[in-house]
Symmetry: C2
Subunit: 206 residues, 2 copies
């Protein structure tokens, strides 16, 4: 499936076949592709909890404001990110030369140390980049998805035993759609969304 | 190009052909596809400044720690996001029924009003989701890319005249690669990155 088709096919699906089980092999294939997404300084801030167990999905559903499709999904991926991933810089460059590793580790520390807002931004940013890759890889593999931010972070953390100082960036529900989604809601026109040269410039295509 | 191939082909490219100009039609095509990315409650927090002007690219390069490939890129997309996008809820649901619009607007206000951290997270999250879609759409269109977070936010805002209360989520440089990138640096093993059922669970594929 080409990228264009996958982007069109991907919609936030709110009803999944509750009886469809996703195999570990497929899940692995999707996740391996998602992990090709970039992260700042290769820090790979992300970890994922793939929830396929019925009881666990039910608990996640309850932590996600009772949204039915969380319980129906074949898998719910909890996208976790570590705002202190910069402390793992040496490991993330361990396949490179000692000089490169030392140079980058110093630069990374210099950039992130003490800047909690940037640390959090980075965790969210990396987590979202990989989530988009994940949804497109899932689409190509024949799965539908729904990204969710509507949940109680503390409860989700508790359900999947995520350390309290990590961030649950989003949930990505994966499954087989049981009905077609409504047409996309209002989209701001492209000419308004993309400007040339300056925020106040001419709209692209205008 | 299928999603899998695009994910493999996409690498953070650090050297672009400075003479390659990207046409507005191609840019429009790439951006239209990128805009198929989801945003929380369809709030479309994003705006983009597509910088193709040589002088503007030079200024962005200076604001981006002098990184050469920012100046070489055919276009540098400044991904801007509005942390107060929730205030535009009615507009973003203006194609839906008055009941749906009112219901969602109330829910959106209730969620975001007064929670500045969530507002910022959402802007960064939406901006990153669309950036990943943008890079994959660019890949399919025959362009290489590089996502950048190494820049002085205030200077970038000034160069592209972005309002000070918006967030420059990242820059995405687009262009034609002039050399192949080095192999990917160290990647944390999949079994460590993806756990089943719980953060402390068995690794996927382990």
């Amino acid at each position: 499936m080409d990228v264009r088709a996958a982007l069109f096919r991907r919609r936030s699906i709110k009803a999944f076949d509750p009886d469809h089980e996703i195999g570990e092999a497929v899940l692995r294939e999707i996740m391996a592709l998602a992990l090709l997404a970039p992260s700042s300084y290769n820090l790979q801030h992300w970890r994922f909890v793939a929830v396929t167990d019925r009881g666990q999905k039910q608990r996640l559903k309850e932590a996600a404001w009772g949204q039915e499709h969380v319980g129906q999904a074949s898998a719910v991926i909890v996208v976790c990110a570590d705002p202190r991933a910069h402390l793992q810089a040496e490991r993330c460059w361990s396949a490179s030369s000692p000089e490169t590793r030392a140079r980058l580790a110093a630069r990374i520390r210099n950039l992130y140390d003490g800047d909690e807002r940037l640390q959090r931004d980075e965790a969210v940013r990396s987590g979202a980049l990989v989530s988009m890759a994940l949804m497109l890889a899932a689409t190509e593999a024949g799965y539908d998805s729904c990204p969710l931010i509507g949940f109680e972070p503390g409860r989700v953390a508790q359900v999947v035993e995520m350390p309290g100082d990590w961030i649950a960036v989003m949930l990505v529900a994966l499954g087989k759609r049981t009905r077609e989604p409504a047409p996309k809601p209002y989209q701001i026109p492209l000419e308004e969304v993309v400007k040339l040269q300056s925020f106040k410039g001419r709209g692209l295509g205008a």
